[in-house]
Symmetry: C2
Subunit: 348 residues, 2 copies
Amino acid sequence: MPRQTATPSPSGPARRRGPSMADVAREAGVSGQTVSRVANGKTNVDDATRERVLAAMRRVGYRPNSAARALRNGQFRSIGVIISALPTFGNSRTLDAIAAAVVPEGFSIILMPVTRPTQGEVTGAFSTLNEQAVDGVIILIEQHQLDQSEIELPHGLPVVVIDSSARYDYPVVDNDQADGAARATSHLLSLGHATVWHIAGPPQSYSAERRRKSWQATLERAGRTVPPVLVGDWSPESGYQAGLRLAADPAVTAVFAANDQMALGLLRALHEKGRGVPSEVSVVGFDDMDESAHFWPPLTTIRQSFEAVGRHAVEALLAEIETGTEAGEPVLLPTELVIRSSTAAPPA
Amino acid sequence: MPRQTATPSPSGPARRRGPSMADVAREAGVSGQTVSRVANGKTNVDDATRERVLAAMRRVGYRPNSAARALRNGQFRSIGVIISALPTFGNSRTLDAIAAAVVPEGFSIILMPVTRPTQGEVTGAFSTLNEQAVDGVIILIEQHQLDQSEIELPHGLPVVVIDSSARYDYPVVDNDQADGAARATSHLLSLGHATVWHIAGPPQSYSAERRRKSWQATLERAGRTVPPVLVGDWSPESGYQAGLRLAADPAVTAVFAANDQMALGLLRALHEKGRGVPSEVSVVGFDDMDESAHFWPPLTTIRQSFEAVGRHAVEALLAEIETGTEAGEPVLLPTELVIRSSTAAPPA
DNA sequence: CGGCAGGATGTTTACGTCAACATGGACGGC
DNA sequence: GCCGTCCATGTTGACGTAAACATCCTGCCG
């Protein structure tokens, strides 16, 4: 067998390009332009011709090349979602809502995960943003994470932020954290509790801070003493640790946890220490996860609508892409108190 | 002020195209090709020239146009993920792992959510697949959902499936469902329980079926009676309903729930009926959610590594894209039994 | 029956990038 | 000192699509 001479054909990935409009045009005996017209549903094409082209498309297995289309039209019909902590309850819900809202508009979602910039590597979001590939961006990470990352938003790129932080220069959509925390606190107060303890989220989180401040303001407005804050990190484990301390204090009769996961850890701590819920201690969470209705006892909590947040964010972003002008006022979606079995009047 | 005459400028969305290589080239006083070479990190460029080009890029705010690149190279450097039920624990975890694995390779993730084909609308995945926009696809939905959807995979598109179903013609990556269910069942048996009840997932789900069969086989191999199966739908509520029935039967001392969420509902039912866990009834789940360690009592469960699944899926897909040949054998990842406090020996 | 409107279809061109080839200058070997 | 090499850089063209413009045909009006 003779030594194989260098083949001129591209050796590597065997990049078979699919059939193009020209192929369809040849097959149907029309010009490429007519194929384009059919592909785009233009009306000024004879029915017979249209049928012929459609048949040819099917025969050769034509699929429009989105890259060529994007190049030609100067539009990608896709939006990026900068996200970290994707598997988080709220984030995955919101992402799902964004995806659902975007599909009917004919846009695609490009995921731009923010990874820790390990040893100077560029983060995913950064490298993707560094090239033109999306028509707009929805930011689903908290302010402090964005600050830490080396991401710089390209000038002129439409952006919508999902967060409550006031520091952003971009349109913002979020649930009304303050509203929810006030509802939770008021609910416990109205049951007759003298005051309400609080397990807060991490202080870097704007949402956590917002909930904490609103809890505090609600207590002060009612003229109650404000107990010291316990600080968690959203995780069940941190709720458990805080709960262990709370359970040891007989004065504690009502606790508002800044999310349902910490509430879960708290419940476990109370059970372990033999404190009855809600007979001795009432607990309110925040989020209303699927699981919360089946915690033991079923958790009273604040429901926020991640679906609505996702929908509004997409709406605002698409409007900005369309018109080139930023949406005006921030959007704050109301929350809802869901009363289940973890709250009751304090022991007599 | 005179009536404004029709401006020749494009009225609509004010589609400002960003600066292109030509702009950078003009600014730097070099040819477009040299800009291209710099942008792609080619070595055969004089250092001084490179610096000049880099500076020009920064000055004009150049970002490469990925559409033009994709068109030119015949490659999109992006992979699609066909997904339904994104907010689900396992799916969001897997998606995150996929995204993380894909970024270092310089690929992007395009989300292709499967929406119910309401009144003949095309689903997201379908419409996206219908055009060339990705180099490969990872399918993260179950066989029966794919069958129901009107999705047809384009011929020749590299595909990897995350599922255990044997019916696929594509490379498959998944956790070893049978392995996990066998571990769970054996664990309970080894504690001294006469037999093990089972709350199964929906029968359309291949994973659910696989777990059920393995549970049954394990019992039979040990010569135990096989109790009737209770069928749930993965939700905590369905676990609760099944649990209500189980709690009423004093013969029940050990239950294997096909996922942690149903186990949660089961726990609630047992508490409500006053049956002690694990003193009277032992419970094992499947998944090892973040929350499971803080259920009451902390749940013994089967941990599966969604991270590994995502990594392997990406690896297989990229290899297929690269070489054009399908990966060979299905990959089954082992599971792990995590023993916590919801299991113990049966009451004497 | 000339002329003209309007619809169907074809031709040209540009979108931004990069492989392939072309050019031109510096340097080393003989 | 001549020629061949190698390297930096420039020029050309093609990827697939669709807007803009050109052409041709049909049919209707005066």
